[in-house]
């Protein structure tokens, strides 16, 4: 197979350049361009990713730069996108699939869960499947049905897959390259409601490890854990809480499979209180796993039960319900209050 595991920022020459302010869409685009430039085995497959540049323009200009052989406007066929990516990977390629919206991933479920995730295991390590599956996920954009879902738990539950979620342009730029460079199949979740938020991206900065959580804000009273779109919301909540004299630690999980709970455990051992936040429904969710593991590992440090602020256990509702459905600043602060009052 190809020896392409050295792409990404780590392998690039460091140049002194000022951080640029860009949107997450731009950061992803720059990251994808870098990955394609670094390794000719990298391909992009998806619906409308070429001529249109993707419905969110994440792949804008890549087909013009790298050609139709490397950036494929595919048939409208999600199972086909992932299934052919598997075959391409078997032939030595490093495909990056775009699933247009979260709710469209399910036609590819067999290929993701029974094929992509399991072929290395099935072949006793003889097959390597370095396939990245990018999925814009989450709500908050007033969309129609199937365009606002958070399917991460399905994939985190599936052995053989890795799952990460970026929360800001810097991570988006770095993590997408790291994901592509890795030799395992990976679900790369992009918080679409944060696509257009701007932040500095330092291409020369030393990258964090891909599968490492990060303390996004230090704090001493309550630990708040989130990933993807909810990190920004939690940071906003922490700023408000600070004004009220409450210090929130905010941890950006970044990696959902494997989980990196060490920063969470370290923080909880200090605060004694944990609130987990995500948009996905709570039943059998990431927050359920985190609550269980923290209870196993830090039981005597907990001063209150682990509380969860999540979507409800209903299908994603019509957009006029979104304000009530989605965790927001007030619901997070309410949970903080309940934890502190316990």
């Amino acid at each position: 197979m190809t020896q392409a595991g050295t792409t990404g920022t780590a392998g690039q020459p460091r140049t002194l350049q000022e951080p640029e302010t860009m949107t997450m869409v731009q950061a992803l685009n720059v990251g994808l361009r870098a990955a394609m430039g670094a390794d000719p085995a990298v391909m992009i497959l998806g619906e409308d990713v070429g001529r249109l540049g993707g419905v969110f323009r994440v792949t804008d200009g890549l087909q013009a730069e790298f050609g139709e052989d490397r950036v494929l406007d595919t048939p409208l066929s999600e199972s086909g996108i992932v299934g052919t990516a598997i075959g391409l990977a078997m032939r030595g390629y490093r495909p990056v699939c775009e699933i247009q919206f979260d709710g469209f991933v399910f036609p590819a479920f067999n290929q993701l869960v029974s094929q992509l995730a399991k072929l290395r295991y099935r072949s006793a390590g003889a097959l390597s499947l370095p396939v990245t599956v990018r999925i814009p996920f989450g709500g908050g954009i007033g969309a129609v049905e199937h365009h606002s879902e958070s399917p991460e738990a399905y994939f985190a539950h599936t052995a053989g897959l890795r799952v990460v979620a970026c929360s800001n342009p810097q991570d988006a730029y770095v993590m997408v390259q790291q994901s592509i460079a890795g030799d395992d199949p990976i679900i790369f979740l992009e918080p679409k409601r944060r696509y257009w938020e701007r932040a500095p991206v330092d291409r020369a900065a030393a990258p964090d490890a891909l599968h490492a959580a990060r303390v996004a804000r230090a704090g001493t009273d309550v630990t708040v854990v989130a990933y993807g779109p909810m990190v920004r919301t939690c940071l906003d909540a922490a700023a408000v809480a600070e004004g009220e004299g409450v210090s929130l630690a905010v941890i950006d999980l970044r990696t959902l499979s494997p989980l990196d709970l060490q920063p969470v455990l370290d923080s909880v051992r200090s605060t004694g209180r944990l609130v987990v936040v995500h948009e996905a429904p709570s039943n059998c969710s990431l927050s359920a796993e985190i609550a269980a593991q923290v209870t196993e590992e830090a039981f005597f440090s907990l001063a209150a039960p682990v509380l969860r602020v999540t979507g409800y256990d209903i299908p994603y509702p019509p957009s006029r319900f979104e304000a009530a459905y989605l965790p927001d600043l007030d619901r997070i602060l309410d949970a903080v209050d309940r934890s502190r009052a316990y």
Partner: protein
């Protein structure tokens, strides 16, 4: 890994194939009675050695299959999926492949596995529960068995898309040993039941629109467990290809010579940039779906007997006899070889030890995975501390 008992015969060179896929009628070159017949599109001049070799492949494949069934009945295998009746379809198609072609089989393609040079013991290891795979796909040009029906068709198309792109930039995996071509083809094996799966139809779409170098080899064995082919399709399966924009051909799947000729033609078409072909090998599953199935619940013995008269081995044997293309010694030697293979297979199968428990954590990921490492360590510690390890191999 020991060499396969089935020889690897050059796929081309001694056969002259003229013509294209797309014929309307069933392609047949050797009747069930062992009579050679001509076909306008597939003019074949097969020397005695080639026919003997194909016959030998089928005899040995059938013997492996019989051993599989026997070993399951004796509790040595958890399950067996018999290929009986489909030897010609599998041997004829697999012998058309070059070493660097890539086949994507289902769980019934044992003869394909043997023709690709894999030791039959590896198949037993799957059904004995030691492994999900059993061979190195790159070394043998053979993907793992696919059990979820139809999934592998898309993998074949993706592989073919990769081959298309290799040409532009001289890449791709290291070439396996053996006779190769600069332009490999992917072959998707599937059955009549799989033809109803969305993924197979998606594979047709993709192969068509990208003109991918892939051959879809459908063994229509008439039964998807209990359901006849009529439950899967209103038109003959090969005719579906027309709707996807590439040729389809129906071949007598019990005629190894015709299958070989039709597959060689389709492969050459793909190598030449002509794109995909759908081959429907019209055959019959003589056995039950698997050893867990009871076929008497859904089909008549009379039907089975009718198909036994079209046996893929008997017609070649009759032809070899009639034309004096093989002497009695050939058949005697083959019988002895078959017996030796069966004995060796049985001995090897019974000698396969269960893997150590901790090996189940291997090969889930290429890279580091701390939670898995912790679970593995936990089980190791538990097994070490357990006074009674019970049935768990260490």
């Amino acid at each position: 890994m020991p060499a396969s008992p089935v020889s690897r015969v050059a796929a081309t060179g001694d056969l002259r194939i003229v013509g294209q896929a797309g014929s309307e009628a069933l392609v047949q070159l050797l009747t069930p009675e062992g009579e050679r017949v001509d076909h306008p599109d597939y003019v074949v001049d097969a020397p005695a050695e080639r026919l003997q070799s194909l016959y030998r492949d089928m005899v040995l494949a059938r013997r492996v299959d019989e051993e599989g069934t026997a070993l399951q009945r004796q509790g040595q295998l958890g399950l067996w999926a018999s290929l009986r009746g489909q030897e010609a379809a599998q041997v004829g198609s697999a012998r058309a492949l070059m070493a660097d072609d890539m086949a994507f089989p289902t769980y019934r393609e044992h003869a394909v596995v043997l023709c690709r040079g894999v030791d039959a013991v590896q198949i037993m290891a799957i059904f004995r529960g030691l492994t999900h795979g059993g061979w190195d796909p790159h070394r043998f040009g053979l993907a793992p068995y696919s059990i979820v029906i139809g999934s592998q068709a898309l993998h074949a198309v993706g592989y073919a898309l990769g081959v298309q792109r290799d040409a532009a930039r001289s890449r791709g995996p290291a070439r396996p040993a053996g006779q190769t071509t600069g332009s490999p083809v992917a072959v998707a094996y599937f059955g009549d039941g799989a033809a109803s799966q969305g993924e197979v139809n998606e594979a047709f779409v993709w192969a068509g629109v990208y003109n991918a170098p892939v051959v879809f080899f459908c063994q229509n064995n008439q039964w998807a467990i209990s359901q006849p082919a009529e439950r899967q399709t209103r038109v003959p399966l090969y005719r579906r290809a027309d709707g996807f924009g590439f040729p389809g051909v129906r071949v007598d799947g019990n005629d190894v010579l015709a299958v070989l000729a039709v597959t060689l033609s389709a492969l050459q078409r793909a190598r030449d940039g002509g794109g995909p072909t759908l081959i429907e090998a019209f055959t019959y599953r003589i056995g039950a779906h698997t050893t867990a199935d009871d076929a008497t619940r859904y089909r008549s013995l009379a039907e089975v007997e009718t198909w036994k008269l079209k046996d893929p081995l008997e017609r070649v044997k009759a032809f070899l006899h009639r034309k004096q293309l093989a002497d009695p010694a050939f058949f005697e030697q083959l019988a002895a070889e078959s017996d030796a293979l069966a004995a060796r297979l049985r001995r090897k199968c019974l000698g396969m030890a269960d893997p150590p428990a901790l090996a189940m954590f291997d090969h889930v990921y290429a890279g580091e995975h701390p939670p898995l490492r912790r679970q593995r360590a936990h089980l190791a510690a538990y097994l070490d501390s357990s006074p009674d390890p019970g049935e768990v191999p260490r």
